[in-house]
Symmetry: C2
Subunit: 221 residues, 2 copies
DNA sequence: CGCGTCATTGATGTGCATCAAGTGGTGTGG
DNA sequence: CCACACCACTTGATGCACATCAATGACGCG
């Protein structure tokens, strides 16, 4: 949330995030086709967003954790165009979008904050397009792990250890790979001593090694 | 632009789009790292946006035509994170973003319009992720052609004929394919009588055939 | 007219998908 | 508390779609 707000502004913003909603593991926060009315700020838990086509194709478009906002896809057509599924029991703030628009007309910092959140999502997706369009399997998985651990670290978790909240299949869907390839690539990293993997627990032994895989040029090692 | 505005509002919006800029073919409207200050509405011409990494990777993230807006990537960090290159001589409206924010505080329709533009870009990128993550070469190219011709048709051009403003290599970069694969896939479509291709001129002979390739399920044919 | 850029086409190679078998962890009901 | 079923995961064998390498052809521009 934006900083340096006056008392009354702060209070009005708090009203927006007053309503909470719990979402059980495996259940949707919203689905493709649902009427759009609110953005959701994740308080606790972990989500995936994905689009499913009629012909059975399914693409995970992102994984979201505490502090991140989901639902932006719904603004343009007034309906959501993807599913948001909780990967573990979660709680979100329900932020009615009409209230966000109303208040952001008066609070400049909120207005700009909203714009930045949307722009950040666009830039993030550019990165995913680069990954999907030009990287090999090892590079994709390395980039994925580095991104996850970096976001977790920013939330006070370990830089080197993480618990995957999603299956190999979901990782594969996100990275444009099959689950077997994800599994094999993990095994390869283990052989090379770059990570330890025990089920969904991952410990990064050699972060430089991972960075090296993603981008050989800009690495000292 | 939004509809049903009052006279004075309309006039103030016109002030925002007053400044024009011409961009010669092959030259950048902005580059990665440039300070962000404005969004650009394309009046005439055709652009590509792309990200280049230090290690020589290059990914086209989109092609934009008249009526579309570019520059949204710059909001989050106050600097652009991709290059926007004109693929033909072009003219854009320079829309200072601080003025957009100022005016959209007063004109609700403008505010919501800006939000929709950003949301639309997010949804578009979801579609590209689906394409890059789960489609085969033929499906990608068919989807690309259908998308282009649909956008051109919405601007009053033919439903069946189009001129590609970009090279095979740029198409390939966008679709996550090599230029040879793009070329071969075009040739295959020609053999099958789905399209006629003469250099960059493409005539779609059998649009149902293309839709069939993208999504076999939901096609009558 | 000659050169550079873009495109086509063929031959070969490879990274990942696919198919298939088996393992381990988890939860459930007897 | 154990037997069983189920699911997620791993690992191997094989195949294929697309990449790579290479040669040639077609425009367009100075």
């Amino acid at each position: 949330m934006p900083m340096g707000l006056s008392e009354p502004d702060l209070k009005r913003i708090e009203e927006i995030v007053a309503v909470r909603r719990k979402v059980k593991r495996g259940t949707p926060l919203f689905r493709n086709g649902d009427k759009f009315s609110s953005l959701y700020a994740i308080r606790t838990g972990f989500f995936k967003t994905c689009i499913a086509t009629e012909d059975g194709r399914d693409q995970v478009t992102g994984f979201q954790m505490a502090g991140e906002v989901i639902g932006l896809d719904g603004i343009v057509s007034d309906h959501h165009t993807c599913d948001a599924i909780a990967l573990e029991d979660a709680e979100v703030c329900v932020m009615p979008f009409d209230k966000i628009e109303m208040l952001s007309r008066e609070v400049n910092a909120l207005q700009h904050h909203v714009h930045k959140i949307m722009s950040r999502e666009i830039v993030r997706e550019h990165g995913v397009m680069l990954l999907l369009g030009s990287m090999r399997a090892e590079e994709r998985l390395a980039a994925f792990l580095l991104n996850l651990v970096q976001r977790l670290h920013a939330r006070g978790f370990s830089q080197s250890e993480l618990v995957l909240r999603m299956t190999r299949e979901e990782i594969g869907s996100y990275l444009g790979l099959k689950l077997e390839t994800v599994s094999r690539t993990f095994s390869k990293f283990v052989e090379e001593g770059i990570v330890e993997v025990k089920q969904r627990h991952v410990r990064i032994l050699n972060p430089e090694g991972l960075k090296m895989i993603v981008n050989p040029q800009t690495c000292s090692a």
